[in-house]
Amino acid sequence: MKVERKCKIVEMDRLDAVTFWMVLEVGKMVEQDGLRGGQFLHIKCGEGQLLRRPISVAYAGWDEPEDLATLIFEVRGEGTEWLSRRRVGDELDVIGPLGNGFNISQPGRYLLVGGGIGIPPLMQYGECLEWPRTAVLGFRTRDKAFPVITSRFQDHCERTCICTDDGTLGRHGFVDAQVREILEQDSGYTNILACGPKPMLRSVAKVANEFGVPCQVSMEERMGCGVGACLVCATPMKDGTVRHVCKDGPVFNAEEVDWDA
């Protein structure tokens, strides 16, 4: 069951000028409706914006009096700007749970690959996945590698590699080079979970394909309804069909995606 409900903000932290960590009370959305990391909530951002904004769930957990969901978001435009001005105690109008999240039913060794604001949807997987795992996290620059995020991976993954586009922290360069190096050195990985900007996903998917490792990617597309009814969030598949990010995704098998579209 999906619900539309008022969710109270119980935590609101500013990570930097444009990045926010928000925790919401989401009723029994976790316990009853199975909300989990990698799914998303569709949030009304004030009366001025007709459309809701999709934000991924970083963590979802049972709690009392209500279950909690953690969202990490960046201010991009008017909607997220409005969101960033909310305070603890304010209520948000939220629809959820939406989308599928990553499939982690397969035992094995996982490689989690995240870029920028695409990292939060992987956090719960980094922390709670029952299989061994390595994380590759890419940031634009050192300042964007918030310890409150990276430490979660470092504390729970076998290994956590950090890359920055400008070399100010960790490895200099994009995550796909790091992923290639890891797969070259170690053939034990059975699954890749990736989230980040589309060019990154494309590169990671390519590397995964070369090494024959099944890869899941979390995609973004502009949304209307968020529930699968309006068909605006179409993303083309290799087989010539289209799928919808809000309902069939946001996570897709990389080999099904038409990367040339």
């Binding site: 069951m1 999906k2 619900v3 539309e4 009304k44 914006q49 007709l50 459309l51 809701r52 629809i95 597309e221 502009r222 949304m223 209307g224 309804c225 968020g226 529930v227 699968g228 009814a229 309006c230 068909l231 605006v232 969030c233 179409a234 993303t235 083309p236 010539g240 069909t241 289209v242 309902k247 579209a261």
Partner: protein
């Protein structure tokens, strides 16, 4: 709920209440059925169908504008046969009227679809001659009276008695001309308005936000245009009207009904609030009750022009 009779008639079909969901905004009902019982709705205009399956246009297919949205979905749909086989049985479970919405590349295609749909059993067929997002057919039929009439006639001929409602484009100089042509060709009802063509440009990338460059404007921004056109059409043609365009609350629906609509459709408002059709219905009932009406249908055409 105040004691007002909510049922209305549209082209001989009785709707339990005047609030229908607009084609293309409600899919085939499955998604919103996870929020509430679809039997609460007056009717469901299903996603627009074509004879053959279509993938629609490339994304981005949506952009936001002041109190409006632009869409360029471009009639993504599984085709009329798949609808009949896979979606219609699902919709039929609910105690609500099912209205199929069709677009064709030729008048003949409209006819073939009407034949199939009437055989399969839908309550009404909405003939879309106004989709601004596809090149073939669509908008062209809706902007030329003689073409609009031709499509209507073909649809009527093959609908085997199932009421045919023609969906009109607002992108015209004089909508009453088209309405009269369609009426003359035998339509049973009119629905309006479809979306108004618009564009948004991302000033940073200098690219249109929509991959198709332009798209169709809907949402509250268009309400005054919808009210005006419903009013004009209701004076020019004697057909019942399904009014739509920007309805998000009872008052909006009441405006369209006073202007001449027998029922209203809610589309874009669903994206902000899945429960919008029910809110509209309740708001409409409250307005009717406040005005001392025994039936919400008494609003229809009730505007007193100056």
């Amino acid at each position: 709920m105040p004691d007002v009779n909510l049922s209305v008639k549209l082209a001989g079909v009785t709707l339990r209440n005047p609030v229908v969901v607009a084609s293309g905004t409600f899919g085939f009902g499955r998604e919103y059925s996870r929020f509430y019982d679809l039997s609460e709705l007056g009717g469901i205009c299903a996603k627009g169908l074509t004879l053959h399956p279509r993938n629609g246009n490339p994304a981005p297919r949506i952009a936001e504008t002041p109190m409006g949205i632009l869409n360029s979905v471009g009639l993504e749909n599984p085709g009329v046969d798949a609808f009949i086989a896979e979606e219609l049985p699902f919709l039929r479970q609910f105690d609500t009227k099912v209205i199929a919405n069709i677009s064709g590349n030729t008048p003949e295609e409209y006819g073939v679809m009407c034949e199939k749909l009437s055989a399969a059993g839908v309550d009404m067929i909405e003939v879309n001659i106004s989709c601004p997002n596809v090149k073939a057919g669509g908008l062209a039929y809706g902007t030329r009276p003689e073409l609009a009439a031709e499509v209507t006639e073909e649809a009527k001929k093959h609908a085997n008695g199932v009421p045919v409602m023609v969906k009109m484009s607002p992108n015209v100089t004089d909508i009453t001309e088209i309405a009269k042509a369609v009426e003359g060709a035998g339509a049973d009802a009119l629905s309006l308005i479809n979306t108004i063509r618009g564009m948004r440009i991302d000033v940073n990338t200098r690219r249109p936000v929509l991959k198709m460059n332009t798209g169709g404007l809907s949402g509250p921004a268009v309400l005054p245009v919808a009210v005006r056109m419903v009013w004009e059409v209701s004076q020019a043609a004697a057909l019942p009207i399904l009014g739509m365009g920007g309805v998000s609350k009872g008052e909006d629906a009441a405006q369209l009904m006073l202007a001449g609509a027998s029922a209203v459709a809610v589309g874009t408002a669903l994206f902000a609030d899945p429960f919008a059709p029910l809110t509209v219905r309740d708001g409409l009932a409250a307005i009717a009750a406040k005005q001392g009406l025994s039936a919400v249908s008494q609003l229809t055409g009730g505007v007193q022009a100056w």
